[in-house]
Structures are given as C-alpha cells and as structure tokens.
C-alpha cells in the first residue's frame, strides 16, 4: 500500500502548494528590501516599540529608506507613536500604499485600523479554543500584510515583534532566514533571563542575531542633566551576543512618543545620542552595503 510520500499532491485541494505560493509572493514583494531586521525580546514592556521607532528615525535621518511593520497585532503601539493613527490607506495599482510619518518612515500598524478600545478578533468556525488556531491565523495575516502592501525599494524593513520568547522564534521561522534580529532587554535580572532564553532559542535557527540593546539603562534627569540609576545595579550576565548599546529612560521622551512626536523634532539629549550610537552599531553590524545612499 502506498504511503503518504508516495503520493504526489493532495488530491486536489492544493493546500500545501497554496501556502508555498503565498510564501513566494511574500518573497517577491520583499525583493527590493535590502535588510530585514526584527526587534524582539521575549520580555514585554522593555521598550521594543519605542526603540524600533527611534532607531528607524535615526536611520531615516541618515538618508536610508526605512519602513516599520508593527507585528504586535494584539497590542499595536506604532500607529500612535508614529502618528499614523487613523491614517488613510490608499489602493495603488496592485497593492496598498503605506501611511508615512512626517519624516518619511512607512508604517503598518494594526493600530491604524483598530481603535484602542477594541481588541483584535477573528471570525471563527470554532467557538472558543482559540489557542488551537490563533497563532496560525495571525501568521497568515502577517503574510497577507507582507504580500499586499507596497513595501517597494527599502534599505531597511524593521519588524516590531510582540513579546514572548516562543513568539520571537515563531517569527524567525516565518520570516526569511535573511531576517536579522535585535533583542531588547532592561537592566533587571528577570528581563535579562528571558532575553537569554530568546538568544538560546534563536541561536538554533539560521537567522543572524545582531546583538542586544539594554533599554532603560538608568534615567535621564533633566534637572541634573545626568543619567541616574533606575534599577538596582546588578552585574549583567554574559548574553553571548554583542551589546549594541545602552539607552537611558527619558520620561519626557516617553511622553512625546505617546503624542507621536518624532525624536528628530526634539532637542538633542543624552538619550538621543545613545539612540544614535545604537543606530550606528546596528548599521555596522549589517552589511557594508548599508551605507547611506549618496
């Protein structure tokens, strides 16, 4: 009797072929994107979204063409922070044009589509038991977004990932092996421990781990014009990946983020300089072809 692998095709539904075709369309849609960089952590609340937006801004200021895909569909924050809440989506000749920030960063965020008073829901044949299918549905949605929006010619497409070490690995599996990862932690032993788990999990796959950023590394006191400790100082454990830099917390900057004000509009601060440093480290860790266009 024939076995599964003796039979070519699946009898006519072509499910596997359709999945492969979708993946092929995604790859084609991203063909003109020079670098894919996912910003993750594993831990929630460490400032992945803020860092993603500010790094994108710093890279954009260097003349790079940058886009952000807010992959945190259940807790999207880029729309508000990037100032594209309620942005207009315009149908192009074949795909949807992306909203842009004032400084020209293209942004897709579910927050542009769904009010903050609403949660992301999907229609379902199965009432309840969403843990059995929800992740699959969300990745299908991610595929549709990658496939259907005009990413065009970009130097960098940054993915703002949701929390969860296992989710970070799922994104690595879904995105192309050419997607590089930057992990974000804060100076707490708990956060570092979770990020170390993400490092361990990602290290088993083909994706490059560019390094980690320690966010909220002290806070910037404007009165003293000094960086002061935010967490009880502990000896940072070896993360086994390069440190791209440390970024202090700036309460005023956080407030501006909530209002959708970009870093470029703010006066230079130690936090701004730290972000500039991380952006440069990020560029250095990518290919030499990432030099800003002349």
């Amino acid at each position: 009797m024939k076995g599964y692998h003796d039979i070519v095709g699946d009898g006519g539904s072509r499910v596997l072929e359709q999945v492969a075709e979708k993946q092929s369309r995604i790859t084609k849609g991203l063909a003109k994107v020079r670098q894919l960089v996912a910003v993750g952590s594993g831990k929630g609340g460490v400032g992945k979204s803020t860092l993603t937006l500010h790094l994108a801004g710093a890279l954009r200021a260097r003349g790079l063409r940058v886009a952000i895909l807010d992959a945190d569909f259940n807790g999207p924050s880029q729309a508000r922070m990037a100032g594209v809440e309620g942005a207009l989506f315009v149908p192009g000749s074949r795909k949807v044009a992306l909203p842009r920030t004032k400084n020209g960063i293209a942004v897709f965020s579910m927050g542009s589509l769904i009010p903050e008073s609403e949660a992301l829901e999907f229609e379902s044949a199965a009432q309840g038991e969403s843990h059995t299918w929800r992740a699959t549905k969300e990745f299908a949605l991610l595929g549709e977004i990658l496939e259907s929006f005009e990413w065009g010619a970009l130097d960098l497409l940054m993915f703002d990932l949701p929390p969860g070490a296992e989710r970070t690995v799922q994104f690595a599996d879904f995105l192309e092996p050419r997607t590089s990862f930057v992990l974000v932690t804060i100076p707490s032993e708990v956060a570092r421990g979770v990020v170390a788990r993400s490092v361990a999990a990602l290290s088993k796959g083909p994706n490059r781990l560019l390094g980690y950023v320690e966010n909220m590394s002290g806070y910037y006191c404007r009165d003293c014009n000094a960086i002061k400790p935010l967490f009880v100082s502990t000896e940072p454990p070896a993360m086994e990946i390069p440190c791209l830099g440390t970024v202090p917390f700036d309460p005023e900057l956080a407030q501006h983020c909530d209002r959708g004000t970009s870093l470029a509009e703010l006066p230079e601060t130690p936090v701004g300089r730290a972000l500039e440093h991380v952006a440069q480290q990020l560029l250095n860790s990518l290919e030499p072809t990432m030099e800003p266009p002349r």
């Binding site: 009797m1 024939k2 599964y4 039979i7 070519v8 095709g9 699946d10 009898g11 006519g12 539904s13 072509r14 499910v15 359709q18 999945v19 979708k22 942005a87 207009l88 989506f89 315009v90 149908p91 192009g92 000749s93 074949r94 795909k95 949807v96 044009a97 992306l98 909203p99 842009r100 020209g104 293209a106 589509l113 769904i114 009010p115 609403e118 949660a119 992301l120 829901e121 999907f122 229609e123 379902s124 044949a125 199965a126 009432q127 038991e129 059995t132 299918w133 929800r134 699959t136 549905k137 299908a140 949605l141 595929g143 549709e144 977004i145 259907s148 005009e150």
Partner: protein, 181 residues
C-alpha cells in the same frame, strides 16, 4: 491530508466541497479507478485550523474545471459565526464577507457598497454619495479585505474635500501624492 483507496492503492481526488453546515466542511473524495466516493466531515476546530492558513479549500479549479461547484472555505466560516449581531452578520454576507475583522471595526459598517459614500458626518448631515469608477473599484478590490472599508471611507472623504463626488484612479493617485506615499 491525502486519501488512498485501499483496494485500488490509488490516491483519491477531491471532488466537491459541500456548503458549510455549523462550521463543518463536507469534502467529497472519489477514487479515479473504481469511482468509490467518501466524504470527509470536519469538526469546527478542524475547519478553523485549515481556514487559519489563509488558503482556499476546494477542488483545484484549474485542474477540475468541470467539477461540481465548490465553496470557498471562507463561506462556512462566515456562516458559522455565532449569531447575536445581525447587522454584522449582514455585512459579513455582503461586501466584507471574508473579512476577519468584520466583528470589530466600526468603520466597516460604513464600508459596504450599500453605504458607500453615505457615511454620517460629525454634524449629522447626510453627505452626498460618492461614485466609484470601475477602474477605482478594481484597485480597491485588489487590496486586502480588512483594509478595504477604511480605504473606501477615507478616499471618499478625500474626494469630497476636493469637491469631487467621483473616485477615479486620478483621485487615488492624488491621494497617494498628497500623503507622500
């Protein structure tokens, strides 16, 4: 999933996908050698699992052009949604039947063909309807379902603000330029 006719040792072919029933798909396979038919009946969880892949389920229309009519897997999903919100159910069965967010995007209620151009403005006055040319409609149809209602509403507002009651491809290009896209 593949099905094998054991007596013939021959792979069975997908023939039809029956209309959905309570979230269950009825998929009929037959053996091309002996003609034996069998039906695979999925439970709602299995239906949802395969639906979540974002693929079309049914006979390959290219390979089986003469097959009995098949149903998209999205239809049973839409029909199997829990009852309780008839307005949303109505939308789901019209322009946004496949939209996974039909249940929760308020703007979607303004995005159906019936209501196109009739969105109620803040001052409560009924705005003049906006007509879409076939070229503009085609471009709208090319974009994902979950963005379409918001795109329609936003573009119509953009057109009205420019004194136009027609959305054509020129207006769409103008909007792209205006927003620096």
């Amino acid at each position: 999933m593949k099905f094998l006719c054991v007596p013939c040792d021959s792979p069975m072919k997908l023939q039809t996908l029956a209309p959905p029933d309570g979230g269950s798909l009825s998929v009929v396979y037959s053996c091309p050698e002996c003609g034996y038919e069998m039906a695979m009946l999925t439970n709602p969880f299995e239906t949802q699992l395969v639906t979540s892949l974002g693929v079309r389920i049914g006979p390959d229309t290219n390979a089986n052009a003469s097959s009995v009519a098949s149903a998209s897997v999205d239809e049973p999903v839409a029909n199997a949604r829990p009852s309780g919100d008839e307005k949303i159910e109505k939308n789901a069965s019209t322009s946004s039947g496949q939209c996974p967010f039909a249940a929760m995007i308020p703007a979607m209620q303004q995005g159906t063909p019936e209501s196109a151009g009739h969105a109620t403005p803040a001052n409560g006055e009924e705005p003049l309807p906006v007509r879409w040319t076939s070229g503009a409609e085609t471009r709208l149809a090319n974009i994902p379902e979950f963005v379409r209602p918001m795109a329609r509403t936003g573009i119509e507002r953009f057109a009205r603000e420019r004194g136009s009651l027609e959305v054509d491809e020129k207006i769409l290009d103008e909007a792209k330029d205006f927003f620096g896209m």
